[in-house]
């Protein structure tokens, strides 16, 4: 307890006398930043979860060139990949609210009136579009040999998709997906322009409340770096596990021979 108090006093001393950055104020508002980090993580995770669920069937339909569906999905991904996320969020939040029809519909009260839902919808549609496209690429890059082998074993289209095509495509898409996760996290700062108190929102709150230039942004930055560090770590573990067969061989000569010719 005493240690804690003296640490805070030390921070206060440094902040008032030495440092250009007010560490004491940051420490004092750390709980707000933690709450902001929670909002950021929540939005990112849910958008990725729903986006991933929607993207799988869409990518399969795209890769299979399903008549009718394929051009429609292409139009959807082109729209959401071809326009900035900020514009999409503004359109859903401020744009839809302009219409009395929308405001009087059953969707307004629980969903479209809430900034949280509007942002989640925008983020989900955006990440669905990106995930669909690179997953489609991954599906198309499954080697023909694997599919022929599955067919030779008598697997139906559905079984082939489930047991051969998709697992292979997921593995191949893993490195690209880590970028998508980080981009979605970075894109989530847009939540702060429609009043949500996400990490950046809290940073801007702190700057606005105390008329500061750096403290809020710096603290948010550190938090984002920690989160990105966690994400890249998780993906490295996942890649080790699922893409292990693609890694260059290590210590080859030390491995015991398991089979003799």
């Amino acid at each position: 307890m005493d240690d804690e108090r003296s640490l805070l006093q030390y921070l206060q001393h440094i902040s008032e006398n030495v440092s250009p950055v007010d560490f004491y104020l940051i420490a004092d508002n750390l709980d707000r930043f933690l709450a902001g980090a929670l909002v950021t993580l929540q939005l990112t995770f849910l958008a990725l979860l729903f986006g991933g669920l929607f993207a799988v069937p869409l990518a399969v339909a795209r890769a299979a060139r399903t008549p009718g569906l394929n051009p429609a999905i292409w139009g959807f991904t082109y729209l959401f990949r071809g326009t900035p996320l900020l514009v999409q969020t503004y359109l859903i939040y401020y744009g839809l609210g302009q219409f009395a029809v929308v405001r009087e519909s059953f969707l307004w009260d629980p969903i479209l009136s809430s900034p949280w839902w509007c942002v989640l919808i925008a983020f989900t549609l955006n990440t669905t579009a990106y995930t669909t496209e690179f997953l489609r690429g991954a599906i198309l890059s499954v080697p023909n040999g694997e599919i022929e082998a599955a067919r030779a074993c008598g697997m139906s289209w559905w079984t082939r998709l489930r047991l051969v095509v998709l697992p292979g495509a997921f593995r191949r898409a893993l490195p690209a997906y880590s970028n998508e996760v980080i981009f979605t996290l970075h894109g989530s700062v847009i939540a702060s322009v429609v009043t949500l108190q996400d990490l950046l929102g809290v940073g801007r709150w702190l700057n606005g409340r105390y008329y500061l230039a750096y403290e809020g942004y710096l603290t948010a930055m550190v938090f984002y770096m920690i989160i990105v560090f966690g994400i890249t770590r998780l993906f490295r573990l996942a890649e080790r596990r699922y893409l292990g067969h693609l890694r260059p061989r290590e210590h080859d000569e030390l491995l015991p021979m398991t089979t003799s010719p």
Partner: protein, 258 residues
């Protein structure tokens, strides 16, 4: 060793730069906003107009200085001043003690009351319990933020980047009420088609610690001479009628206050 020399050089360079004085020959850069009608707004052709803008021009003329206007979003105003993006802020900024820790102010150039606005017929009570859980919208980094956080800690405070965004969400019904400058709100909302169902609620807000002592011109703390120059110019244009001419163009009453 080389690195240490480089660092010393950099520091020396930075000191020289920060020590450089603003010469009278250089145009004075004024930070203004553009989303706060009728004090400042952007015309369709991109030019700025409004009370703040014209007062800035009148003051520069009075001071015999050439001025250039620099547009800046509200919540970055003070940081941008400190970072020398401009030399003074003429953007309806209230003079408060909190801000005095960061910047210096001229004497006020106007003073208007701050008030709540809600939908007509709203039964909101402006008490701590009356606003508990109610969504109150306001512009980020304003005196209103200080006021609402201090007096209505249990209200659900929603922070916006521009005053126009606050009005937009009040009109759609996302907000139960909003707080802002009453004169600005007349032009920005209440006298417009979108604002016809809205009205002031409660009296003029009163808390000098939060709401300040009127609207002044902010300069960097070490530019006190510039603040004094502005204060003298404000009094001068009050005397010679230039202030009145701008005032009457925008308002039916004299907004200088007492």
């Amino acid at each position: 060793m080389i690195i240490r020399k480089l660092v010393t050089l950099c520091i020396a360079g930075a000191l020289t730069l920060s020590g450089a004085h603003v010469f009278a020959a250089e145009p004075l850069r004024i930070g203004v906003e553009g989303a706060y009608p009728p004090f400042s707004k952007k015309e369709a052709d991109g030019s700025l107009s409004g009370f703040d803008i014209e007062i800035a021009e009148a003051l520069c003329k009075q001071m015999g200085r050439e001025c250039s206007l620099v547009e800046q979003e509200w919540d970055g105003m003070i940081p941008a001043l400190i970072a020398r993006k401009f030399d003074a802020i003429i953007a309806s900024m209230s003079i408060t003690d909190d801000r005095r820790k960061k910047v210096a102010f001229s004497e006020k150039y106007y003073a208007t009351p701050t008030r709540f606005i809600a939908r007509k017929g709203s039964d909101l009570e402006l008490t701590a319990s009356g606003l508990e859980g109610k969504k109150i919208g306001l512009l980020r980094g304003t005196t209103y933020q200080c006021f609402v956080e201090k007096h209505f800690p249990d209200a659900d405070i929603m922070l916006y980047n521009t005053q126009e965004d606050v009005y937009a969400d009040l009109v759609t019904g996302r907000l139960d009420a909003q707080v802002s400058n009453s004169i600005q709100a007349m032009d920005g909302l209440l006298n417009t088609e979108a604002g016809k169902d809205f009205a002031f609620i409660g009296d003029d807000l009163d808390d000098e610690a939060c709401l300040g002592e009127g609207i002044g011109i902010a300069v960097r703390k070490n530019d006190m001479a510039l603040a004094d120059e502005f204060s003298a110019a404000i009094l001068a244009i009050r005397e010679n009628g230039a202030y009145q001419a701008v005032n009457d163009k925008y308002f039916a009453i004299d907004i200088y206050g007492n």
